[in-house]
Subunit: 370 residues, 2 copies
């Protein structure tokens, strides 16, 4: 598990490189020659981000032979980041920690043994737990991965987790052929938007379920504009209109669930016999309500997916991850994959985003390091 | 789908052989030479068994070249039989129909082209939907399967569905080795009892969950006596005592759920990472309540099993089914597998069993054809 590399405490600055296990203690003396610092959103106890996160100036460690120093450029606020700060996530960094798992930065300094990265390169974290909500970071070169500079900054900052999750969801559970159908709830989530676009590029049809809301028609239009074949509300999913829909399109072999509660059960009943429902989130924060008959009589399989576990399982050979990111970058270049719809906020105005976390407008924020 | 072979209507007797598609209409004239009849528990509409089942005298078809005539000896009342009569099962015979899917009979007459069965043989239905609650039956020889006569009658009458289900649950989802643990709810069900015994013979440890009830200690003792390692109530499953248990035994790779509701979620949280929960029943008649985190973070797989589907998938070559029944019969002979604890009731006293269907004593009835 990657830990935050450096954190300022009251009297002593502690920074650690999780990959090497090195742990430093440095007197807080920012004026000392050669000691660099950065701003970071730090939490020292677990709880609601609004209450536990604060902007701190933290010391950066020296750039050793195999290290890189990165100027962070952008980092999204994802649901997993919030769960991690609250302490409800399966992967919890030792406190104090810096928030944020996903993001993108530019290399500004490399250790003398670093051959595969150079100043000016764009990089993203390899693992979860990086602590991306900061202006700068020093880490092992092996902890980051090169991304192409010819894609938009916001795409680069959001390519390493959500589109990768979407890609694996579509690739790893069912053998899907052009013309097959995929159904998903939470279709307006970052993963959901990537699923729509990657599925469209594979010739798959998507049935996209969203919660009803005041601006539902606008959202439906937006999702259609990125390639959604059908967009419908949870209420429609539960009524007889679905029978009409399935007269014109094959029942889905694959269902993707990031909501849980009754929504998961509503997806389940529309899956083709022998198909799979994959759960990768629990936005409703309620247990999935699943009628057993679909498993018993229709042989529906229910699985879970966690990108962090996938990365761990594929850590020894990063080529698979690299290839996937290259493929997704190519989709971005071709205009087939866009960054999720999000609201940019300067890092130092992070409170604007945190204030809005509990609202149900589904707005996604992107911290921009100015 | 197997249909009931023969049913008496008011003026005309209709009987059909589902395998051949033959349909006969015979005037109701039981005194006619050569026309045999039998008693059968018939339902003409779907509903509560107590309200829709009645004993009728129905005409038996002539025994053709490839047919057999069977004197039924014993047939259990299983939950699936009830669901089928109520109309909530996935496989519903055309009405009117005879109740009962499992049972055993003795061959008393064979058609001249039947070479692999002879009078005196014991047979069980190959498929679900046989209609076993009757005194006699005529069917294609291929619709029944020989069972050994050197096992007790009640074991033979209950070997074709529940022990087979238990065997497949233990064989088809996880590779279990001696010393591994299996957890199950509804452990006192017919399948549950077979799981305990088959698992014990494989060197597996079983954690058996039952509902609390007035005679819970007696039931615990009974399950221990057939080989259960641990027997505990749903309440215990949900408390801190489980941590103590798992200090001495590995966490289960396999969980078997026939209850649903919260019980399914309670099983889920004790499964070893990467393990599987298989659902084969829904006794609580409530959707499974499953926290997503176990799927996402622990990679727990959730599957369903239906013996009827397994039989259908293995219908072309009955050797696999035959081998399984022979193996289970051998276990019975060795005293390692007993018939489920049940209360015998003469077929004509069937109302005694039906009156008790809604009670929660968990009593299982076996209809005996006198």
């Amino acid at each position: 598990m990657a830990l935050p590399w450096l954190l300022s405490l009251r009297k002593v600055d502690i920074f650690c490189s999780p990959m090497s296990g090195r742990l430093y203690s440095v007197l807080r003396s920012h004026s000392s020659a050669g000691v660099r610092s950065c701003d970071a959103l730090v939490y020292r106890t677990r709880g609601h981000p609004r209450e536990v996160l604060s902007m701190e100036n933290v010391v950066l460690p020296h750039v050793h032979e195999t290290d890189v120093r990165i100027k962070m450029l952008a980092a999204p606020i994802n649901p997993a980041d919030i769960n991690m700060i609250e302490g409800t996530y399966a992967l919890l960094p030792t406190l104090p920690a810096v928030g944020g798992n996903e993001g993108m930065g530019e290399v500004i300094e490399v250790g003398r043994n670093v051959l595969d990265l150079k100043p000016g390169d764009w990089v993203i974290p390899v693992d979860a737990g990086f602590g991306t909500w900061r202006t700068e970071a020093v880490c092992k070169a092996s902890e980051v991965m090169l991304v192409s500079k010819d894609i938009p900054l916001l795409s680069a900052a959001t390519i390493g987790v959500n589109p990768c999750t979407a890609y694996r969801l579509l690739m790893d559970f069912e053998t899907l052929m052009s013309g097959d159908t995929v159904i998903q709830n939470g279709a307006n989530s970052a993963v959901g938007q990537a699923v729509i676009q990657i599925a469209a590029s594979m010739g798959l049809k998507t049935i996209n379920v969203i919660r009803d809301r005041p601006n539902v028609k606008d959202l439906m239009e937006t999702l259609h504009s990125i390639g959604a074949d059908w967009v419908l509300t949870e209420e429609t999913l539960n009524n007889s209109k679905m029978a009409d829909l399935f007269r014109g399109v094959p029942k889905p072999k694959l269902a993707l669930n990031c909501v849980g509660g009754h929504s998961a059960g509503n997806l389940l009943k529309h899956i083709e016999c022998g198909g799979t429902m994959v759960t990768y989130g629990a936005m409703a924060r309620k247990p999935m309500q699943l009628p057993a008959k679909h498993l018993i009589f229709d042989d529906i399989k229910i699985r879970g997916f966690w990108m962090t576990r996938w990365k761990k399982e594929n850590k020894k050979d990063l080529r698979k991850f690299n290839t996937m990111v290259s493929l997704l970058s190519e989709m971005v270049r071709k205009g087939k994959l866009t960054a999720p719809i999000c609201t940019p906020v300067p890092l130092h105005d992070y409170k604007v985003a945190l204030e809005d976390l509990t609202s149900t407008n589904g707005r996604k924020y992107m911290l921009i390091m100015d």
